[in-house]
Amino acid sequence: MKSFRNAAIAIFAMASPVLAQPSGAITVYTSQPQEQMATVVEAFNADYPDVQVEIFRTGTTELMSKLQAEFAAGSTPADVLLIADAVAMTQLKNDDRLLAYADAPLDGIPADVVDADKTFFGTKLITTGIVYNTGMVDQAPTSWDDLRAPEVAGSLIMPSPLYSGAAVIHVGTVTQQPDLGWGFYEELAANGAVAGQGNGTVIEAVARGEKAYGIIIEYMAMNAKADGSPVDFVWPDQGVSAITQPVAIVKGTDNEEAAKAFVDWQLSKTAQEQSVAQGYFPIIEGVSPPEGYPALEALNIMPLDADKLMADDQANKEKFAELFGG
């Protein structure tokens, strides 16, 4: 009798999802640094205490390889993706791997960071510029062209698109610019520039004083500077490349409700303010960028033909690997 009653209660509980808070576990695949994600999950749980979030973190390129392998085998444990760039997301969308979320709360989110079919949504802006070691450089570089000089390129390190999603976009954007193009990278390679792995290897080398200059995403350099590393960052006047770190729900997730809650939260003002505290440009209107960053309107973002980049992706990586090893 008693077990019958318990079963009845359980059935009743399941039948009234409108009142229930989302609960259960979701797995988030992300390229955002771990310690940051730990605080993100903490803040998310303040609003959604019943959702348990498991984090899998690695570079975007590697993450994509892992996902491909998992899809090939039938399924992935991932419910939500929070990865560097829209190009990677578009590839997944074209393979029909993403769930369309038509009712996502998009108040204040600019339309150009949202996928037309509502499968993925930009959460922040990450730009790529130049970092330099303040102990080694007297005259800070102001443009990409400043990096071409042999004495500069000889002490320059950059992230490789074979590891970093931001680097995929950056190399793709730069090579599409008429005044830069592959000639820019060929010149850098000829003058002795090297490619590390992700952006992490770049900040390491520059902060340690092994290299004087680096190409890097802004928050890593700015956060290191804030912690006391002898580095500074410039947004070159020729323009920067930018990624939007979109969030998306994997089609076939076994906890759609909680996954949607995570997306909702990522697009909320609370999350945007937390991103700013972590050193990111906000994407939502009315939130100001971190201290020491230029105003969003003042930011000069180089134009990017995303379709062309998608088509060239493989060739770009091969060409880069040919120039810089790998």
């Binding site: 797995t27 988030v28 640094p33 771990q34 310690e35 730990a38 498991e54 984090i55 899998f56 690695t58 570079g59 390129t61 590697e62 994509m64 390889s65 892992k66 491909q68 392998a69 090939a72 085998a73 039938g74 444990p77 070691n133 102990g135 080694m136 002490s155 390190i157 490789s160 698109p161 074979l162 590891y163 090297v194 590390g196 792995q197 992700g198 952006n199 992490g200 290897t201 770049v202 900040i203 390491e204 902060a207 340690r208 004083g209 092994e210 290299k211 004087a212 890593m220 290191a224 912690d227 006391g228 590393s229 002898p230 580095v231 493989q314 990586k317 690997a321 810089f324 090893g325 790998g326």
Partner: protein
Amino acid sequence: MLRLFALALMPGDSGQTLGLMRETLGSRAFQSAFSNTLAASGGSVFISTVLGGVLAFATGLLRLPGRALISFLALSPLLIPSQIMALAWIEMMGSGSFALGLFGLAPPPGASNPMYSGAGVAWLMGLEHMPLVFIAVRASLSAIPGDLVEAARIGGAGQGRIAARVIFPLTVPSLAAGAVLAFAAAIGNFGVPALLGIPGRFPVLTTLIYRQLNGFGPAVMGKVAVMALVLVLLAALALLLRQVVLRRLSVPLPPGAGFAGFDPGRGKWAFLAILWLVLLWLSILPIIALTTTALVPALGVPFGLETASLKNFDAAIANPAVRRAFANSFGLAGLAGFMSALVAIVLGWLSVTARNPFAKALSWLADAAFVVPGTVLALSMILVYLRPLPVIGVSIYGTALILLIAYLGRFLPMALRPVEASISATDPSLDEAARIAGAGVLRRIARIAGPGVLPAAIAGGLLIFMTAVNELTLSALLWSAGHETIGVQIFSMQYEGNSTGAAALSVMALALVGLLVLLTDRLGGRLPPGTLPWRSA
């Protein structure tokens, strides 16, 4: 792995037989990586053999004060995962080096770190694999019967002559075998060339595989499989060579009390001083460099009393993933060590004493898994275990089980080799007698072979534990949310540009392993002699 190799033999784009293989082997990237692999491995073997040999003879031949501690330091590279070691050496040799700065030896700012080169890769791999030679030589030294040395002494030979004419020839086979093992390990090494060779533009086969897979995904699986095949062939050649060396050169020795070493005499202190200087340079300074990095608030900030803080440690301990990583790694490594020791006894007995051909083949395959680069092993594991298992219908991918299986596959030889060696050294007549008396296989393993090989099995299990607890290569590809390991955690922190955090975590991991070593060392008195490699004397 068969699945992976089947891919390697596929026709290429144009459809000719073995076309894929021809294309891959003909590519410039492959050829330079191939010659780099051979050069770096060759160089590293030289370093391993010289360092390991000298240290083993110094500690094995002479009764020096503090011998156990010296042996332990000589073995320490085995306990320090390659990426921590690489990190430590980068810190030590870099322009901001606190350790070198003390002596005014730090390179000027902007000078590129000498570790980022082929020579750096060879040096560090040599150091990392040095214990393989050390262990082999020490084991053979302690197997030399004291009676033999005594006989030579009575025959009128001096210590030097005994060492050169009696002892050294007897250890040559194990020196050579250790060197070959070091070569096989160097071919498959990933951590060192990844951290030093990628920024230093010195690609080797393992890093080429990793970069290709990372950048291009499953599309290049076939190409990668060809490279993996080449690596396995190289390793197989090395192991074949080792078998030949051991069979041709080894001399059966009678059992008896082992040779305990000479009294070092008057030159003792000078010799000790040199030995300690070498050890200071090899094992202690890098750890100091790592620790100072862990204590500075941000990279590039010089270390000093006014900058030092525990911030990085606090942040690491506050991170729930770090705490989980410690629990996962200790659990996995403990199970892997224990299970490997058990399997090693059974498999070793079957292949050596019972001469079961199937077990022999398995024991050979176990070697292959050890020398195949971890990246390749992990990929084959994914290929096989991603789909639900046939009978029970559950996929173990995404669980901790797949990590455990990978660890078992990878580290089994570390227990199997000493156990097999110990079984082949025992007198087969005992087993014969038990068999004639009607004892079954299980009883013979448990009662006759078991007690004799227990020390070797326990030592193997402990070594596996200490190695697996900081494992990276397999974990990097097989870990899943909630099942992170210490190695993965350190790697990702460094990858994210948080080297100070990674250093803090490394220091904690090393401290825990050190504590463990102290504990087992305490137990060492109760274990049979020879159980703890640094105590074998």
